[in-house]
């Protein structure tokens, strides 16, 4: 298996072997965390631009660090400080970045399809760091990496994804990735936050977390945004938390070896209590570490590299 793609736009397009390759490549990358000097010369002289149209701390920092540890020169552009705020279009911004000689553009954008538009506009490698409610491939890859690390294998596992599935790119990328790797996925949330015909992606649907929780190997809790309540999609955060929040009582209904993950940032006390977030069965902090390793692997593969020294 060798890597041939120029861009990473989503997991829908990737084969099981390609996902496997990224996860395998991320293993030695993670090992770098234990080294006293965490910098590899592998991608010296390459330039990566983080182009973020939405606020993000975790994903942006993670890409930045992944780049730096591979010796990539990293530039961050956040749109409220750039000429985008003066009305520059995505196409123009992209052309400018290309003209500056970038090798990678990491894009986070509130509009679905933006990463694809960018990839069609420039000759640079494009990495989708989240486009609207469409995909967030590196988040799903780090979730897969974490699950594989904790469970040994993904094949045959039952994974619950809980929360606002409708607006979640993390859910979509996870469904593609998990089902390709042979897991069974159940999405859980109030009917107003479950998109139409999500079953067609290969996921089962439930509105009842208590019914599903005893049967799953992994619980992936999504962040609930307060704006969704204002938009009338559910009556209150209190009721949401009562029905879909992960607390001690619910966790006790789950298997002893259940794995709890969350893409962050958490709304403690809403979708997850701090007690659960700190439980040994939760790997929320380790997900952050794994995120850097997975993103190093992605940069490495997209630049056509051979060996991690």
């Amino acid at each position: 298996m060798s890597w041939t793609r120029k861009h990473l736009l989503g997991l829908q397009d990737l084969s099981r072997d390609e996902i496997q390759l990224i996860l395998d490549t991320a293993e030695p990358c993670k090992e770098i965390f234990t080294r006293p000097i965490k910098k590899l010369p592998t991608l010296r002289g390459r330039v990566m631009v983080n182009l973020f149209y939405e606020p993000s701390t975790r994903t942006r920092t993670s890409f930045e660090l992944a780049g730096k540890w591979m010796s990539v020169d990293v530039i961050n552009i956040s749109t409220n400080l750039s000429s985008v705020a003066k009305g520059e279009s995505l196409k123009d911004t992209a052309k400018t970045i290309e003209a500056l000689g970038a090798d990678f553009v990491v894009i986070r954008h509130y509009a679905a399809g933006s990463a694809k538009l960018l990839a069609e506009t420039v000759q640079v490698s494009v990495i989708n760091a989240g486009d609207g409610a469409h995909e967030h491939p590196t988040q799903a890859l780090l979730d897969l990496f974490t699950i594989r690390d904790k469970k040994g294998s993904i094949e045959g596992l039952h994974v619950a994804i809980v929360g606002d599935i409708l607006h979640s790119r993390v859910a979509r990328s996870n469904i593609w990735g998990l089902t390709k790797m042979g897991a069974k996925v159940t999405v859980i949330g109030p009917p107003t936050l479950i998109p139409q015909e999500i079953e067609q992606m290969g996921a089962e649907v439930s509105y009842d977390l208590d019914e599903v929780i005893p049967h799953v190997d992994v619980i992936n809790m999504l962040r609930i945004q307060k704006e969704r309540q204002v938009a009338g999609l559910f009556p209150s955060l209190r009721e949401y938390s009562v029905l879909y929040g992960l607390n001690r009582r619910r966790l006790d209904q789950a298997r002893d070896d259940v794995l709890v993950i969350h893409p962050g940032p958490t709304n403690l006390g809403v979708e997850i209590t701090s007690e659960v977030a700190e439980d040994p069965r939760a790997s929320i902090d380790e997900q952050v570490t794994n995120g850097v390793a997975v993103r190093m692997a992605v940069l490495y593969l997209l630049s056509g590299g051979k060996d991690i020294p």
Partner: protein, 427 residues
Amino acid sequence: MSLLIKGGRVIDPAGGIDAPADILIEGGQIIGVGTDLPAAKEELPAQGLVVVPGFIDLHVHLREPGYEYKETIASGTRAAARGGFTSVVCMPNTNPPVDNKAVVEFILAEGARNGAVRVYPIGAITKGRRGEELTEMADLAAAGVVAFSDDGNTIMNAVVMRRALEYGKMLDLPLSVHCEDVNLAGQGLMNEGRTSTLLGLPGQTRAAENVIIARDVELARLTGGRVHFAHVSTKEGVELVRRAKKLGLRVSAEATPHHLTLTDELVATYDPNTKVSPPLRTREDVEALRAGLLDGTIDCVATDHAPHSRDDKEVEYSHAAWGMVGLETAWPVIYTHLVLTGCLSLIQAIDLFTRKPAELFNLPGGRIAAGQPADLVLFDPKKNQRVTEELLVGKSKNSPFIGQELQGWPVYTIVGGQARWVDEIGR
């Protein structure tokens, strides 16, 4: 100046004609149709071509005044002539909108001055198309509007819609309605369903269209007013119109070439040229619309020709302007996808572009007979061409059909006896 169109196959659904015949034109009118007509000053050989009444489009956007960078009356009517249309009815969502006599007069004057085909304006139902106060509908009618519409702005206040239908009765002009409940539609960018879920694009439920069709059927029943449903796109919408017609209500409906042939799966490309309102629906809806054409529930084909510049379209899907051009490709799309596949007979398809729209909005033309205006189109049933930007002659190129191979292209369009589109050397 006289002209003899010689040797073509003449099809006129209004007169029940489908035969080889010649057509003699003089002074902008048809003088005779037959086989042994006297010679004329000019002769147009039409062997191998089909000669039909000029097409009539009840739904176009010419963008003038206000958005001349997208289209003008001159460029939009050139696109019409290229597509075989000899009359177009233009929507009032200009700037300023067509909510007063002066704008009606401007459009009619500019159409007469620089239009390649006949232009008939639609007047706004409410001032500023804001859905609040009625326009001076009688004044607009006297100035020459052929229907009323607030176009993309559905009148959300049902009382205002009721008053418009009641008041409009004394003018006996139809109200063309775009059916979209703005609350249900929300931020939706495409049909809500499997594809919107996969793409993560906000979906727009079909119910947004259906509830307004249902409401306006009830208001037609209440008032006895004339409602013309613009670009029906859902199977439920077709069923609602079908039932209303069975009840004898004064309703009519149009469908667009794109809703008759394309589905929301095409949006998977994120190509902004697939973004249109109402959105592309599913295969089931396409089938229901076609069945509606066959049983007369859908009265005619209209393009909703909606030109947008590159800068309005080459952006993120959510930012892209709504709409697609359609005048140049409408007939070849229907001919290729509905006639050649056996879904419609040739004479049925022509009827949907000629007699029926003429009757609905009470427009001249739509038939071939002595005394009628010489508005004709000659199309080549064998002519096969791939749609390219160059082939679209309006100002904007936002067509989802670019790249498709289509057949049956118009080669000669005649308006009032004058050639307004000639494809290639004399043909």
